[in-house]
């Protein structure tokens, strides 16, 4: 019955077994492969946060008075706020005065005019990460297409954006893709209109801190009726020690436009924790659509829970116009702690929000993630598919809200949360909030928790796979619905991350 097809490095691959899965599992010899650091001279702001630091960051970015005022307002609110404790995560108190809020490579003191002028050491960093900063290059893994797809990249290194590729080609289509600090200078009217309009300055503790000290990030504007000619992408790299990264992303999709945006992140291995508190705001006007995909692979800390990134992120999309559409897809494999709830405000009638998530927590990682779907407009639709995987001593929580307002007639939500446990020392939790305030809407929520099915494992083992391979295969199958929602460029990376993140969790 079984037809032997081929061999990959000595392992027989049989029919029905995904060849890629085996290859990736084999390729992942080292554990966290992005754990190296770039040795480069940095220019730091003094440690700690204060009004002076806020002023300094604003000055370094050459910002106008209104933005400084806006930052200071946020800072004054933040000082009075209390760090939230409701998430199911435990960590020692963070000393907000014991870290740097601004770190910039010295070579970036004078802003290079193009990527060609950027310090080769910095460019090499991205080359090593497999991120193409040369316009003719493509993301690894997608070569060989008849018509290669282009991806424009904004590379953010610690507190600054190094540069953005394909700017000219994008400009032809009218698309603005640049760092937010450039946008403040070149398109102040857009920034002023939309900044903080989705995630208000004092939205929550971490978003407020970000509003005060954000250093850089990406800015995208897609004009009316434009379908962005290529995928846009931002790659975040934390390199400096004891430095927090506070980036701010603002994407505006004007009426009838479309854009697909990818985000990736990595950081070096360190014994101390580092804070990453980002804010992402998406504004979607009438008939527009944004696809936002994240592969979050910050350093997760070692097996004992030493080091790793604290990823406290606020992401929100506002579907302001009728028939606006947003799709969040996230693969969360890194970070010591993840605190992240990409949300959708479905304000326009017939607007639509989707959330697809894979969260993997291994060793001592803790993830508390989910989404909020706020249905305000009529006939709005939302769909949530969340797959949580826990291994080692990790804790993984799905926390979500579905709210149907009285005026959101005939709306629809479907939520599916599945958790998979690998090993008897980890935890998987589901905390959904469901608020239905009208009767013409339908809300359905389903959640299951199970372990890796013994029968499936046995089947794979009987076909000659070893246990880790078998688990990786079963887990990939478990995540399939979400992996399929990712753009192709990311799907590959995500699939291999699923395997790497679970390494060592069996036995």
């Amino acid at each position: 019955m079984t037809v032997m097809l081929e061999t990959v490095d000595g392992t027989e691959v049989r029919e029905g077994v995904d060849r890629e899965t085996i290859e990736t599992v084999q390729a992942m010899a080292g554990k966290y492969k992005h754990g190296w650091e770039t040795d480069i001279e940095m220019d730091y702001a003094p440690k700690g946060v204060s009004e002076d630091i806020v002023r300094l960051i604003s000055e370094k970015n050459g910002e106008p008075e209104w933005l400084l005022e806006w930052r200071l307002q946020a800072y004054r609110r933040w000082v009075q706020m209390v760090e939230p404790t409701w998430a199911m995560v435990n960590y020692p108190a963070i000393d907000y005065q014991d870290q740097y809020y601004y770190a910039k490579p010295k070579s970036m003191a004078v802003k290079p005019k193009s990527l060609d002028e950027v310090d080769p050491k910095l460019l090499a960093t991205y080359a090593k990460l497999g991120i193409p900063l040369k316009e003719q290059m493509l993301l690894a893994g997608v070569e060989g297409d008849a018509e290669p797809r282009k991806v424009a990249v904004d590379a953010v290194f610690d507190s600054v954006s190094l540069g953005t590729t394909f700017k000219a080609e994008l400009a032809k289509a009218g698309v603005i893709f640049c760092s937010i600090s450039e946008a403040v200078k070149d398109h102040p009217e857009l920034v002023k209109q939309y900044l903080g309009s989705v995630v208000p300055q004092s939205d929550n503790f971490f978003a407020t801190l970000n509003s005060a000290v954000f250093s850089d990030g990406s800015f995208v504007y897609i004009p009316k009726g434009v379908r962005c000619p290529m995928e846009l992408s931002t790659y975040f790299r934390i390199n400096a020690e004891n430095t927090g990264q506070f980036e701010r992303t603002l994407i505006i999709a004007d009426e009838g436009s479309y854009v697909s945006y990818l985000e990736g992140c990595t950081a070096p291995k360190r014994d101390t924790h580092q804070l990453h508190a980002a804010v992402v705001e998406l504004v979607i006007l009438k008939d527009a659509e944004i696809k936002y995909s994240t592969v979050q692979n910050w350093y997760p800390g070692d097996e004992e829970g030493r080091g790793g990134i604290y990823n406290f992120v606020t992401k929100r999309a506002d579907c302001r116009g009728d028939r606006a559409k947003v799709m969040w897809t996230q693969v969360e494999t890194g970070s010591a702690i993840t605190w992240k709830y990409p949300s959708c405000i479905l304000r326009g009638d017939d607007s639509q929000g989707e959330f697809y998530s894979i969260a993997i927590a291994n060793n001592a990682q803790q993830a508390d993630t989910g989404t909020k779907m706020i249905h305000l407009g009529k006939r709005t639709k939302s769909r949530i598919v969340s797959k949580g995987i826990s291994a080692g001593r990790a804790q993984n929580t799905y926390r979500g809200l579905v709210s149907m307002h009285p005026k959101a007639k005939d709306s629809r939500n479907y939520t599916q949360c599945d958790s998979l446990l690998i090993g008897d020392k980890c935890g998987a939790h589901t905390v959904p909030y469901i608020e239905v305030r009208n009767n013409s809407s339908r809300v359905e929520h389903e959640a299951t928790t199970s372990k890796v099915d013994d029968d499936q494992l046995f089947y794979c083992r009987s076909r000659g796979m070893d246990e880790e391979e078998a688990v990786a295969l079963v887990v990939n199958g478990f995540c399939k619905e979400v992996l399929q929602a990712l753009p192709m460029e990311f799907a590959m990376e995500a699939q291999s991350l699923v395997a790497i993140s679970l390494e060592g969790s069996v036995g």
């Binding site: 980890c426 939790h429 589901t430 469901i434 239905v436 009767n439 809407s441 339908r442 928790t449």
Partner: protein, 433 residues
């Protein structure tokens, strides 16, 4: 900090008018402990996460909001056809004249007050003990209030198979009564008891029921919360279920301005079973909250939660349910479903169905749905000649059926169905869409 102060003030206001029950010995000590717990917690305020969907202010207020008595007309009282031992409380005070003689084969029954004088009493290991255990991880201050301030209550110990069900009947005579009761039930290994509860009890009712089900015992609990509409109630059910034991509880709630039914169940011995179910129907300013916390401590246990609500004319239904599976509680089978049927535009359903799982070889699922009545099904029935209101009644009963199925006794299940039919007939006529 500020919140703690508000909670403390709420408590001071609530207990200002209450006199402390006198008791020495074990009962006095248990009450003193409960007072200390209560003092540390304070009473809930609107900002409390656990009271996110239910406003506790009428439960916290110093005086019970007035609630006029309700005349059920010619509707027979609940469990009328069942041969049972009746224990009657009027406005939260035991009424010996209306109650049966407290002797029953296979069961020992006594009032809380008479047990206080005993040097050693079986209830010592239960009274306030299960409640105290149930205070973590979430505080339940009204339960501690019940332990500290209840002057009356009943202690029931089953030693074998109870000859007939024990019925606690609560009646309501004063419009401003503020009743606090605390009962304890112990089922010795292998025993069997059915406990029935019915009636509105008081304008405001705070009740704690602690149940210890020892290995292999079977406990059935069926409650009908009465048709009084103005009343307010905060009830707590704490249970510990031993190895191979079975715990089943069903509650029917029709009407009530505010009902908060908390159930805190621990599956403490291997292969224990706990089934909790509720059917609630509400019209207008009805607010009903089921808050359930099931903990699987031992392996091979099964828990089931089935809660259904039918809401109309702006009624509110709340469900907060949790399954906690502790490390080592392998082979757990946990199931939870919460559903609401909203019969008009104004009603609302607020749910927080949680899972917290620390063991890998488990099967746990929960589901929650909310929506209007199925127009296609309604149309189908109408096309078969069933009038619209009757068709709606049929579909509502079908919706509630899964919860009522948890009532094992067919006579009682039929009685509950006919009560619901009656309620729907009366309320559909009021113009529910």
């Amino acid at each position: 900090m500020a919140l703690a102060k508000v909670k403390e003030d709420a408590l001071s206001a609530r207990v200002a008018g209450l006199s402390l029950p006198e008791a020495a010995g074990w009962l006095g000590a248990a009450r003193t402990d409960a007072r200390a717990r209560l003092q540390a917690m304070g009473l809930p305020v609107r900002r409390d996460e656990y009271w996110r969907y239910t406003d506790p202010s009428s439960l916290v207020a110093q005086d019970a909001p007035a609630a006029s008595r309700f005349d059920p007309g010619d509707e027979p009282e609940a469990f009328d056809g069942i041969d049972r031992l009746k224990i009657v409380f009027v406005d939260g005070v035991f009424d010996p004249a209306a109650s049966d003689d407290l002797t029953l084969a296979g069961v020992e029954i006594e009032r809380l007050e008479t047990a206080a004088s005993a040097q050693i009493h079986w209830a010592q290991g239960i009274f306030g003990v299960l409640e105290a255990r149930g205070q973590t991880p979430v505080a339940r201050p009204f339960a501690a209030l019940g332990t500290a301030y209840a002057k009356d209550g009943i202690l029931i110990r089953a030693t074998g198979r109870a000859a007939r069900p024990v019925a606690l009947i609560y009646s309501h005579s004063s419009d401003t009564s503020d009743a606090i009761l605390h009962h304890c039930v112990k089922l010795e290994a292998g025993s069997n008891l059915t406990l029935l509860e019915s009636g509105p009890a008081a304008a405001r009712f705070t009740k704690v029921l602690e149940v210890d089900v020892a290995d292999g015992a079977e406990f059935h609990h069926i409650r009908v919360q009465g048709r009084d509409h103005e009343r307010r109630a905060a009830t707590h059910l704490f249970a510990r279920v031993g190895a191979g034991a079975s715990f089943k509880s069903f509650t029917l709630t029709a009407n009530g301005r505010l009902t908060r039914n908390e159930a805190v169940i621990e599956l403490a011995g291997p292969a224990a079973r706990a089934h909790l179910a509720g059917a609630a129907v509400g019209d207008g300013d009805f607010h009903h909250d089921d808050t359930v916390f099931v903990t699987h401590t031992a392996p091979d246990c099964e828990s089931r939660q089935v809660f259904k609500k039918v809401l109309m004319n702006g009624a509110t239904g709340v469900f907060q349910g949790k399954i906690l599976v502790r490390q080592g509680a392998q082979k757990t089978d946990g199931y939870q479903i919460s559903q609401s049927l909203l019969l008009d535009e104004d009603s609302q359903f607020l749910a927080k169905p949680e899972l917290e799982i620390y063991a890998d070889d488990v099967k746990c699922s929960h589901g929650s749905t909310s929506g209007a009545i199925d127009e296609t099904a309604l149309f189908y029935l109408q096309s078969r000649g069933v009038p619209r209101s009757a068709a709606q009644g049929l579909l509502v009963l079908a919706f509630l059926a899964e919860a009522i199925e948890e009532v094992a006794d067919e006579v009682i299940a039929d009685d509950i169905r006919s009560r619901l039919e009656g309620w729907l007939a009366r309320h559909a006529a009021k113009g529910g869409k």
